[in-house]
């Protein structure tokens, strides 16, 4: 009896916590978005600025995710399979984006590529616009979403060990063949999981991009920046409808995460 009470008590606490912090607010946003009908939401979403903002978000994601995937795999291989001096430093730098404020990331890039920055005058002389333009937004997004593939692949690589790779080499496979035919298939679910996380982070990044974007409407405004802009312009319906699309993308990511996680454990 006491046992059951305690169990239901704990369950109640957990549910209440999730409801207050997570589920409740989301439900209200869904309600508010559609309280004036789907038409209003659709109008807000189909404005050219909003469409452009989503396009920009997708372009940035399409560059950042492949770049971080290749890096993540190479980095995980280096961390797990090689011995080299300065491994601790590499590890620390890979983890840093997890613990660092996105605003600090944005500021660092601002200081590096801005007019008075280290690269600023050289870039200006050569007519290359990095700050307040796509390149700095891409770099900012790469920075904040950098750890995920590497962090997913590292434990899987450790777990599978290097015996299969050694076996392939004794059977005549070159380094590349061993990677393609043995290592990559063994880590594929971890890579896919990491790619999903990287994608989610890239689509949703706000702080770092906000600092380096310059808020040029229709040019350097991503979907998340657009949400803030709509809110500041007192267009709540617009802000909510863009948020709903981003939330739906997040739900898609969740579904993918849930589907893939058990598979990863089965391998």
């Amino acid at each position: 009896m006491a046992n059951a009470l305690r169990r239901f008590g704990l369950r109640g606490i957990a549910f209440a916590y999730l409801a207050a912090i997570l589920i409740g607010p989301l439900a209200v946003v869904f309600y508010r978005t559609f309280e004036n009908g789907f038409g209003a939401a659709w109008d807000a979403l189909s404005s050219p600025e909003t469409v452009n903002a989503f396009k920009l978000t997708l372009i940035i994601t399409a560059i950042a995710v492949p770049a971080n995937t290749v890096f993540g795999i190479a980095c995980a291989l280096a961390i797990v399979r090689r011995k080299f001096p300065g491994k601790g430093i590499v590890n620390a730098f890979v983890d840093l984006p997890l613990a660092l404020s996105p605003v600090v990331v944005g500021l660092s890039l601002y200081l590096l590529y801005g007019r008075d920055g280290w690269f600023g005058s050289w870039l200006t002389d050569h007519g290359i616009q990095v700050l307040f333009a796509l390149p700095s937004m891409v770099i900012a997004t790469i920075f904040v979403s950098l750890p995920f593939v590497a962090r997913e692949v590292v434990p899987t690589l450790r777990e599978i060990g290097d015996e299969q790779e050694q076996a392939a080499r004794t059977l005549g496979a070159s380094s590349w063949q061993t990677f393609r035919r043995i290592t990559l298939p063994a880590i594929r679910w971890a890579v896919i999981y990491g790619v999903i996380l990287t994608t989610a982070r890239s689509l949703g990044e706000y702080g770092a991009v906000a600092v380096v974007s310059g808020h040029l409407q229709g040019q350097t405004e991503t979907a998340t920046l657009r949400v803030e802009e709509r809110y500041q312009s007192l267009d709540l319906a617009g802000a909510y409808s863009i948020s709903i699309v981003l939330a739906l993308l997040a739900v898609l990511v969740l579904v993918a995460m849930t589907v893939i996680r058990p598979k990863e454990e089965a391998v």
Binding site: Q164, Q166, A167, A168, R169, T170, L171, R181, V267
Partner: protein, 320 residues
């Protein structure tokens, strides 16, 4: 000679895994590297395969210096203790791997893999994944995979170490027969002296990164050159500086010249063999191995006084 190892040394940090090791492996032989864990036997095998680089010394395989050669260029087949099965490939694809890498024609791959599946008795399992096989089946698959590319030498690292006793016994017998059929020069690592004696025609006993002695099974058992070999390749009693095997300890009920008095502490019946645990008059404990018939004949009982006469006892020089 198939494999010649000359003066190979290898250190891991401060630990000397191999210390100036030299070994010749005859073509067509089945050689065991026998030793306790940490004796360097696996490291030596991995140096031969090219999976480890020696700090000093050289490895020659069929007359070619292979010391700096990558493992994929040595023409060796390697079988790992934990199989190293490619988990995402079927049994067929595992065995075909080396041939696929070498871009052999499909028909050739098919017939070769078919032969090997037959040889390792895995034909019905060709399209299963390693996770669906038993340990013994996985190890046979790993063997077939190594044999598929027709290696010049076959190297096995504790091939039966992860299997249970019954399967291990079966596979030992099977490896012996396979070797007679395929006749590829084979080196395998084991810590089990019985396994080495049952399977190999030559045994190199290793201890602390060195080879203590190389010889045939009987030779090692009967003419051990060091205390270590004496104690590692069979049971032994040590009394002071003298070493004697338990079955070389003759028991009798009557005192005789040069026989030591001892009391029977315990008698353990193991079927055909009976172990008699003894305490000598001077307090030394030792045991004797007698047959069941001999035990009955002498009417041995616990607490009884018997007389010991050691045969073939050995004294080793202080050098070891």
């Amino acid at each position: 000679m198939s494999i010649v190892v000359k003066g190979v040394s290898k250190r891991f940090n401060d630990f000397p895994a191999l210390d100036d090791v030299s070994l010749d492996v005859e073509t067509g032989s089945l050689t065991a590297l026998l030793g306790p864990s940490g004796s360097g036997k696996s490291t030596l095998l991995r140096v031969i395969a090219g999976l480890e680089q020696p700090d000093e010394g050289e490895v020659v395989i069929f007359g070619d210096d292979a010391t700096g050669l990558a493992p994929q260029k040595r023409g060796v087949g390697f079988v790992f203790q934990h199989y190293a099965a490619f988990k995402h490939m079927t049994v067929y694809d595992n065995i075909a791997f080396g041939l696929t890498i070498r871009k052999r024609p499909k028909a050739e791959i098919e017939s070769r893999v078919g032969e090997l599946l037959e040889l390792v008795q895995l034909k019905p399992f060709a399209h299963r994944y390693p996770a669906q096989l038993s340990g013994g089946q996985r190890q046979r698959m790993a063997l077939a995979r190594a044999l598929a590319v027709e290696p010049k030498v076959l190297l096995l690292d504790e091939p039966f170490g992860a299997l249970d006793a019954r399967v291990r016994a079966e596979l030992r017998e099977w490896l012996r027969r396979l070797h007679e059929e395929v006749h590829v020069t084979t080196v395998f690592v084991t810590h089990d002296q019985e396994e080495a004696m049952q399977v190999a025609d030559r045994i190199a006993v290793m201890n602390k990164g060195r080879i203590e002695q190389v010889g045939g099974p009987r030779d090692l058992y009967e003419h051990p050159e060091t205390e270590f070999v004496m104690s590692f390749v069979g049971p032994v009693n040590r009394v002071g500086d003298t070493w004697v095997r338990p079955h070389d300890l003759e028991l009798s009920a009557e005192p005789s010249d040069g026989a030591d008095e001892a009391m029977i502490e315990r008698i353990v019946h193991l079927g055909f063999e009976v172990r008699v645990e003894l305490t000598r008059a001077d307090g030394e404990k030792l045991w004797a191995q007698v047959t069941r018939d001999r035990c009955e004949e002498l009417e041995l009982e616990e607490g009884q006084i018997v007389y010991l006469r050691p045969q073939h006892e050995r004294v080793f020089s202080a050098a070891t």
